[in-house]
Symmetry: C2
């Protein structure tokens, strides 16, 4: 264990993932509460408790952190870096301070004017993007579209290793709200149903607006005996289909339109986006979001 | 008070409106809990308590009821009437029974295959539609589009006094969910801001999908200092703009495309739809939803 060099913290709204890192490998891992779920505890105290065993064994290692930890509602508000932004811009924008003798560095989020001419922001995904570049250097060549599904899905245009701009869609949070608080959803415990999901995707693309197809998740249960057990998958198809539809104007932007799109995120969620994009003629492949976050923090930690 | 002839009950999910009716006027009114808010009490008991004073004064008057009272989760499930449907179809479909010596008649909802080729349903709005026809007989001539904003907005195609078909949009419930449960909303106590609302409408029509503009309600607060006090009006514009956008394929259907559309609903909500439709070049005028419901029940009660 003498090779521990730094601690990587991927600290989002709902989860804290800590990794004790050597020069090339992860030596140990711990999890903790999201930055939005501290219930009044100070972020510094939460970190101190979580890393106490590592501190006892290895002393005050440097901490590299990314995610909502740098938001106004996080530990310390870190200014966004403006796009276009490359990995060097993230390094320049690191917010550095000390906490209990640990040198802490929080990665800045990114801000841009998005392809729809609106202001847009991300926190955490920028570290996954540059982590993906560290893992797959060929992504730094030419024009690429990266898609980061999640609570808020980020559709990123990357040129020669720089984030030119990106666009946020609200599908993940919308789906969660509809499932928890509306009468549209079916049986939340049901497994995924690929046919119902694909049907939802097609309906999202056929309608003139998402608001005019959402009620189908209810009316098809009432009038076509759609089983409640598949209504959730249908609803997921409606929302992810709407997400993909909204991104179509920026998807053709890649250097070679036949190139695969790159998805970064939780594998099960990425698999749904792979299907949704394939239905519109876009091939894609997936990278694990947690691995990309770690690779991004490692790239910043190891000069 | 000797002229009381029947009791009209507009019993939706969130509210019960009772009217003691004479041949031409309302003699008294009472309010009660929505059919989805009975907290285990039996609908018959709630009605008995609510109309006890009228019963004492006038005996067992007939009760005419419309709304979610006829849903599976209501008092008695009443079969939908299929479109095309006229006022006579509602009368034929009345579900009649007795409760405490009162003759009760519950109006059937309507079912159709909507303009997007999906099954669709309504309960309560059909009574408002035929009430509007009773109040404004010229609406029964030719092709008309009626719009009933609410939790679920109904876009109705009417030909020669028959409901041909209709389409449900989910905007009202979606807006309520976003305001209550998401970080998009601003200050719920703020008044309406007409400029922010109009800007939201324009953004909804400019984007390729609603999911790709919703986040602007947050990012414009973070990056453009949009005051929280106007963010709700902007979000309302995004959602109602998406509602109108989804209905554009069916709006041009009227006999004379220059004719006004007819809105039926709560006056303040209708006023927002008047603005949203005007922005897209559609003139409209509003009828009060509660008055239309009462007129519809009266038309069924008085042969």
């Amino acid at each position: 264990m003498s090779s521990a060099q730094f601690i990587a913290a991927d600290w989002g709204s709902s989860q804290l993932r800590l990794s004790l890192c050597g020069a090339t490998q992860v030596l140990d891992e711990r999890a903790g509460p999201g930055i939005a779920a501290l219930q009044g505890r100070a972020p510094a105290d939460v970190i101190d408790v979580a890393i106490a065993p590592w501190r006892a064994a290895h002393g005050a290692l440097p901490l590299f952190m990314a995610g909502m930890v740098g938001a106004r509602s996080g530990w310390v508000e870190v200014a966004y870096a403006d796009c276009p932004a490359d990995a060097a811009a993230l390094r320049t924008g690191l917010h550095r301070f000390h906490s209990q003798d640990h040198a802490v560095a929080i990665v800045p989020g990114l801000a841009c004017i998005n392809p729809q001419a609106a202001p847009d922001v991300m926190r955490g995904e920028e570290t996954q993007v540059f982590g993906a570049l560290a893992l797959q250097p060929q992504l730094a060549q030419g024009r690429r579209v990266l898609v980061l599904p999640g609570t808020h899905c980020k559709w990123v245009q990357l040129q020669d290793g720089r984030v030119l701009r990106f666009q946020t869609s609200f599908g993940g949070e919308l789906f969660a709200l509809l499932r928890r608080h509306s009468q549209l959803a079916g049986n939340a415990d049901a497994g995924h149903d690929a046919d119902a999901f694909a049907f939802g995707l097609r309906r999202a693309h056929a309608a003139a607006s998402l608001t005019h197809v959402l009620f189908e998740a209810r009316s098809r249960q009432l009038r076509e005996a759609m089983p409640a057990a598949v209504a959730d998958a249908f609803l997921s198809g409606l929302v992810i289909g709407s997400d993909v539809r909204g991104a179509l104007p920026l998807l053709g932007w890649q250097q070679d339109a036949c190139d695969e799109l790159t998805l970064i995120g939780a594998p099960a969620l990425c698999a749904r986006y792979v299907d949704a994009l394939a239905q519109q003629g876009y091939p894609s492949r997936s990278l694990d979001g947690a691995q990309c976050a770690l690779a991004g923090l490692r790239a910043l930690a190891i000069d």
